[in-house]
Amino acid sequence: MRMIAAAMALTLSTLPIPAKAQERVETLRAQVAEYEALVARLEAQEAVENIQAAFGYYIDKGLWDRAAALFAADGSYEYGQGGVYIGTDRIRQALALTAPQGLAPGRLNETMQLQPYVSVAEDGRSAKARWRSIQMLTTAEGQGRWGAGLHENEYAVGVDGKWRITRLHGYVTFLSGYDKAWTADDYPMAGPSTTLPPDRPPTEVYQSLPGNYLPPYHYRNPVTGRSGELAR
């Protein structure tokens, strides 16, 4: 009895302290992991916004090589009704269909990257983003154009820690002449190129203004949880 009592006393006097410390360390470990994941997702959002904005600045000046280098090796690019190009080399060639590398005097290709909604995956390794684009353009024939569109893009971080575009899909809302309003002077989207046929046909067939097609939202309504497909 005395030995048991002594053992119990020993247990009571010693065990609770390491148990408490252990519990505290476990709580701390869980909290640190939680904040590491939160910070990593915020960093991912910044990285995605930077590379998409940088993509826009390269497109502005016809720097197709640098724009294509922002894609993952097996990334895909699709714009309007031009079909899908896969891989950085094909993407560079597809971008160059519109104007020569570095543009040419008198060509304007300002393509703003605006209003990002970035959704980083729970594990922080991939992301999706919706963007708006407003364009100020001058065609090869010297005609002014206003353009408006949307992007629904996907991104992933590589083993080297760098974020890249894995899927870029640009949707045309309208393309109009400069001198008349966008509801008065619309230009339909071009179909797939015959000189550089795409690797896959367009994933969605639609018409720019007067059509009013909008791509599905990649995100759920954050308040109601309604899916982006249904909310369209």
């Binding site: 302290i17 390491p18 410390a21 252990q22 519990e23 505290r24 360390v25 709580t27 701390l28 470990r29 909290q31 640190v32 904040y35 590491e36 939160l38 910070v39 915020l42 960093e43 910044e46 990285a47 916004e49 930077n50 590379i51 904005a53 940088a54 826009g56 600045y57 502005d60 000046k61 016809g62 720097l63 640098r66 280098a69 922002l70 570095g102 543009l103 040419a104 005097p105 008198g106 060509r107 304007l108 300002e110 703003m112 990257q113 605006l114 407003i134 100020m136 001058t138 010297g142 005609q143 002014g144 760098k162 974020w163 400069y178 001198d179």
Partner: protein
């Protein structure tokens, strides 16, 4: 005082954070001299309170966790810096909207500089304010009939590893006008530098590469190549403190404003 699962933050007052096993702990949020992100300071304070007293039972693991917390606090600070710099550049644009040249100029460091188009470099807040005012007629505010919208868009921000300086590329999309007299579109790219002084981010160097200022009638396709000297009357009247840092050419010529980041370093 309610302790929820999420940090609650009231600017300029106290931050309360729930600690599930230990109840609520109140942390004093010191008044900040600069506009700050709401999320990041709350997050950093939350991280800071998790540094516990050393526990003899788990010294190695606790030390490792503390090292992770220090590293995490640095990364959270960098995110807060990016947020502060974006807000700084955006309010520069909001002050231009109103013709508050004095407020816009006050955002610059003491030796900060501003250079627009071919107009040369203006140094220090006083000269910067005078030059910005002269560009729109010399008044200390926007006057009746003037429009001066300069949207600050599409940021690419990189903070230096030491957290003291940063660089940012931005787009300036402008709508300018004088009522019943003129209206124009503006297009340009900034490559700016920022410096953090006593905890406050300021503009160290603002460089706007003007691409065009095009009349609404006819638009940018009507622009002719600019003369060799395409400085504005405001620059010629005041005289810049330093000549243009490098030759740039506006549309319809194609000029690529230099990038502060190398290919592959965009993120």
């Amino acid at each position: 005082m309610h302790c929820g699962q999420s940090p609650r933050y009231i600017p300029g007052q106290d931050v309360w954070r729930a600690r599930p096993h230990w109840g609520c702990v109140m942390i004093r949020h010191l008044p900040s001299p600069a506009p700050r992100s709401v999320l990041m300071p709350a997050l950093m304070l939350a991280i800071a309170v998790f540094v516990p007293a050393p526990a003899p039972a788990q010294p190695a693991e606790e030390a490792a966790l503390q090292a992770r917390i220090v590293e995490l606090a640095g990364r959270a600070q960098a995110l807060a810096d990016v947020s502060a710099i974006k807000k700084l550049q955006r309010i520069y644009g909001f002050y231009l909207d109103a013709g508050r040249w004095d407020e816009a100029a006050s955002l610059f460091a003491k030796e900060g500089s501003l250079e627009i188009g071919d107009d040369g470099v203006f140094v220090g807040p006083r000269r910067i304010g005078a030059y910005l005012s002269a560009r729109r007629g010399g008044d200390d505010r926007l006057v009746y009939g003037q429009l001066n919208i300069h949207m600050q868009l599409q940021p690419v921000i990189h903070v230096a590893a030491d957290g003291r300086t940063a660089r940012g590329r931005w787009r300036d999309f402008g709508l300018e006008g004088e009522y019943r007299h003129s209206a124009s579109w503006g297009d340009g790219v900034y490559e700016n530098e920022y410096v953090k002084e006593a905890g406050v981010w300021k503009i160290a160097r603002l460089r706007l590469y003007t691409n065009f200022v095009a009349p609404y009638e006819g638009g940018w396709t009507k622009l002719k190549p600019a003369p060799a000297d395409w400085s504005t009357p405001a620059s010629r009247a005041l005289g810049p403190d330093r000549p243009s840092s490098a030759e740039t050419r506006p549309f319809p010529e194609v000029f690529v404003p230099p990038f502060h980041y190398a290919p592959g370093e965009e993120q």
